[in-house]
């Protein structure tokens, strides 16, 4: 492990949010106003994953009152409380910049239904093999 990786390892959160490009998410951001602290929610589509390790960030896009709004969140920022995934979508690009040109119904993404758990599948296969033997 090189030195920079070692330094970045200390900056990582315990668990990386399983967020993917195309997900509709709710980002909970801690905001400090003077003395008070509150949590703000930013809901939209993840159009980009950027960087890796401690520098990883996501760009979330939403349309607010007809105006497109994009915010970038460093995934390991202590201000980002959690990223709640609402739904996955079928996407064929790594960066969804094409959404910026689309409005309304055209800007929808097809929902991706969760597949069968691959870990469970393996178990059943093993059991079947054991039965054969």
């Amino acid at each position: 492990m090189n030195l920079i990786d070692r330094i970045e390892a200390g900056e990582l959160k315990k668990e990386r949010s399983p967020v993917r490009v195309g997900d509709t998410v709710r980002a909970h951001i801690r905001i400090v106003e003077g003395e008070k602290e509150r949590v703000q929610v930013f809901e939209g589509v993840v159009i980009r994953l950027h960087g890796g390790g401690a520098r990883e960030s996501i760009t979330i896009r939403k349309v607010s009152f007809g105006v497109g709004v994009e915010r970038i969140f460093p995934l390991n920022s202590p201000r980002l409380e959690k990223v709640e995934i609402i739904r996955h979508a079928k996407v064929r690009q790594a960066k969804l910049y094409f959404l910026r040109e689309l409005r309304g119904k055209a800007a929808r993404l097809k929902e991706l239904k969760p597949k069968l758990d691959p870990t469970k599948k393996k178990k059943t296969r093993k059991k079947a093999a054991r039965k054969k033997a």
């Binding site: 070692r6 401690a54 460093p74 920022s77 202590p78």
Partner: protein, 206 residues
């Protein structure tokens, strides 16, 4: 002692307690040893001679080896001096630790900038160039006129012209120390530091 020689490892980012993202340069101090004292009486000035890094003995010639034998040290990759440093006799010959700096300290960093080769006036001096249209052709990146006429009949000294750029000593003042890692002998310094990754930098408290 409030100065060090280190190696620029690269850049990354860390988060502050408030959650702000801080860009940092990682500087590793591998082996930095005060070897010799320059004194007012003998040399005309006070300074500490420091050896940085290691060098194989087969790459050290006899006069150099003689010097290292005299100060009872292993051959170093390079030698440098720091003026007016308070170093006790006990500290001489022992590798310096990064804990001479602490978080929030202001430091100056000296490094050798990346070489840019033979650069034109756009890159080297930030000239604006000529218009792209309105009858202009073939001189878009040129520097324009370099002088007047029969009087003064010469080009002034220091005229900004194309030439070699970079690979020069660059001094950056007032960079903040973000973190001191004594375990790995590593400093995290806020912002950029001159030179390429792997380059040698001097760090002085300012």
């Amino acid at each position: 002692m409030d100065a060090l020689i280190g190696k620029k490892v690269g850049m990354t980012q860390v988060f502050s307690k408030e959650g702000n993202c801080i860009p940092v340069t990682v500087v590793q101090v591998e082996k930095c040893v005060p070897l010799l004292r320059r004194t007012q009486d003998r040399d005309g000035y006070d300074a500490i001679l420091v050896g940085y890094g290691t060098r194989k003995s087969k790459h050290t010639n006899k006069p150099e080896q003689g010097f290292y034998d005299k100060v009872k040290a292993e051959p170093a990759r390079l030698l440098a001096e720091f003026r007016d440093q308070g170093v006790t006799d006990e500290e001489m010959g022992k590798p310096l630790k990064v804990d001479i700096f602490s978080e929030g300290d202001s430091v100056s960093v000296v490094g050798t900038s990346k070489g840019k080769g033979f650069a034109g006036v756009f890159k080297r001096w930030g000239f604006g160039g000529a218009p792209a249209s309105h009858g202009h052709h073939e001189i878009y990146r040129g520097g324009g006129s370099i002088g007047m006429h029969t009087y003064p009949g010469r080009v002034f000294r220091g005229k900004k012209m194309p030439g070699h750029m970079g690979s020069k000593k660059v001094f950056v003042k007032n960079l903040k120390v973000v973190r001191v890692d004594t375990e790995n002998n590593v400093l995290l310094i806020k912002g950029a530091v001159p030179g390429a990754s792997g380059g040698i930098v001097r760090i002085v408290k300012s």
